[in-house]
Symmetry: C2
Subunit: 263 residues, 2 copies
Amino acid sequence: MNYKIKIMYDGSAYNGWQRQKNTDKTIQGILETSISLILGENIQLYGSGRTDAGVHAKGQIANFHTKVVVSLKQMQNSLNLMLPEDIKVLQLNAIDAKFHARRSAVKKRYSYSIWNSYISPVFERKYLYERVEKLDLNAMREASKYLVGEHDFRSFCSNRTFEKSTIRTIYSIDIEKTGDKIVIFYEGSGFLYNMVRILSGTLIEIGLGSRKPNSISALLEAKKRELAGFCAPPQGLCLDHVFYENQWEEENNAIFRGDREES
Amino acid sequence: MNYKIKIMYDGSAYNGWQRQKNTDKTIQGILETSISLILGENIQLYGSGRTDAGVHAKGQIANFHTKVVVSLKQMQNSLNLMLPEDIKVLQLNAIDAKFHARRSAVKKRYSYSIWNSYISPVFERKYLYERVEKLDLNAMREASKYLVGEHDFRSFCSNRTFEKSTIRTIYSIDIEKTGDKIVIFYEGSGFLYNMVRILSGTLIEIGLGSRKPNSISALLEAKKRELAGFCAPPQGLCLDHVFYENQWEEENNAIFRGDREES
C-alpha cells in the first residue's frame, strides 16, 4: 500500500528535511526511523521537496510504500507519541499506488515572515526574520508583479549543481501586514534551491530602497545569482501547503481528524 | 529617579519571576543583574507580582530607583541586546517617585490557553495546555459567572503561608474559542498564589462534565483548596496586562516605540 502523510514541524533544531549520513537531526531521517520502527519494516519516505536547515513546515507532504497492514488511526497516534514535540503528523491516509509526493505536486505555497519593528515578540522569535528599518510595502508589491509568471529564475537560486531547468512559474506573491509583522506568500509550480529565501531577500532590499522595483526584469534576464538580493535567513520561511490534483487531496480519504464529531 | 519598565518573556526556561538564591534562572534576577551592569549601580526591581516557573508574560510591569542619569532609548536598546532572546524590554520610562509596580496596580489581566483537540500546533507548543477531550464551553461560561465578583478565594489558592486576606475581586472571565484553541481571560483586582491556574483547572473539569457549574458557590463557601480542581500546568498561563490609574499609564510618558513615526 501507498500512504500519504502530512507533517508539521518546527525546523529550528534540525538540519533540514533531507536525510543525511552525518547527522540524525533531519526531519526525513527521524520520520523514516519512526515509521520503520512501528511497521517493523524499513520504509523510504518521499517528500514533496526539501526544506533547508531551520525552515519550518505547516503542511509538508510525503508518501511511503509498505506491505504491512496498519490501522491508520493507531499508526498516527503511535507516531505522534514517538516523534519529538517539534514534529507532528497531521494526517495519514492510504492513497493510490501512483501517488508520489513530489512528482504529483502541482503547486506549493510558502510564506516568509518578517518582524518589521524594534522588538519582536518572544513567542514567535524562532519563526520570524527581524528587520528594524521600515520596509516600503508598495515598492515590494510593485516588484513582485515582475516576478509573477513563467520565468527563468536562475538569478534566484543558489544551486550548486544546476537543475535540468531553472524555469518555474510563480502564480502569485501576496504581501500582508498585520501590526508590525509582514508576511510574503508565494504560490508557484515549484521552487529552486533557496529560491524563496533569495526572492525574499531581494524584495526586502527593494523595500529598503536599495533596489528599484523595475530592476527585477533585468535581474531575471541576467541569470546571475550574484546580482540578486541576499538569501534571507531560514527561520522566516515556512512551507505552508502542497497542492495536488483533486483525486489526491485528503478530502477524498478517511482522515484521522474527521473521526471526531464536532459539537 | 524612578523608572517603570514593561517586560515580555517566554517563561519556559525560567524558575519564575522571583529572584532566588539557588538559581540564576529567574526573570527578576536576570533583569536586575542586567540593569545594574548598565547603570554601574546595584538596583532592586519591584515587580507587579510573581509569575510561577514556566509562566509567560506579555506585559509584566516593574519599577526601580536609581540616581544614575540615563538615556531611556539607549538603555532600553542596551538591555535588549544584553538580555537573552526570551526576555524583551517593551517600554522604559521615567515615572513619579510614588509609583510602585505592585502597590499602584489596580487590575491585572491573565490568559490561560488550551489546545482542545488532538494535534497541537508545534509553533505554539510551549504556550498551550493540550487537552484532547472536548470541553463544554457553555458549562464553563456558566460556572465563570459564579466566580465573578468579590469573593474569598481561599479554595482557589495553594498558599503555603496564607496572605493576610484571601478576598479578591474578579471583574470578568471571558472564554473565547478560535478553531481548536480556547483562551480563558481573567481580569481582577489581584490574584492569589496559583489562583489563575486552579481556577482554570476547575473550569476545565467543569468543561469535561466532572463538576457542575452551580457547584462553584459551595466551593467558594467551603474555603478548602482540596475541593477545587487541579492546578492547570504553567505553560498555558500568561500575564497579559497590568493596569494602573491613568496618571501612571505609559501614554503619559515618552516611550521608545513612539519615537519612530509610522508611515
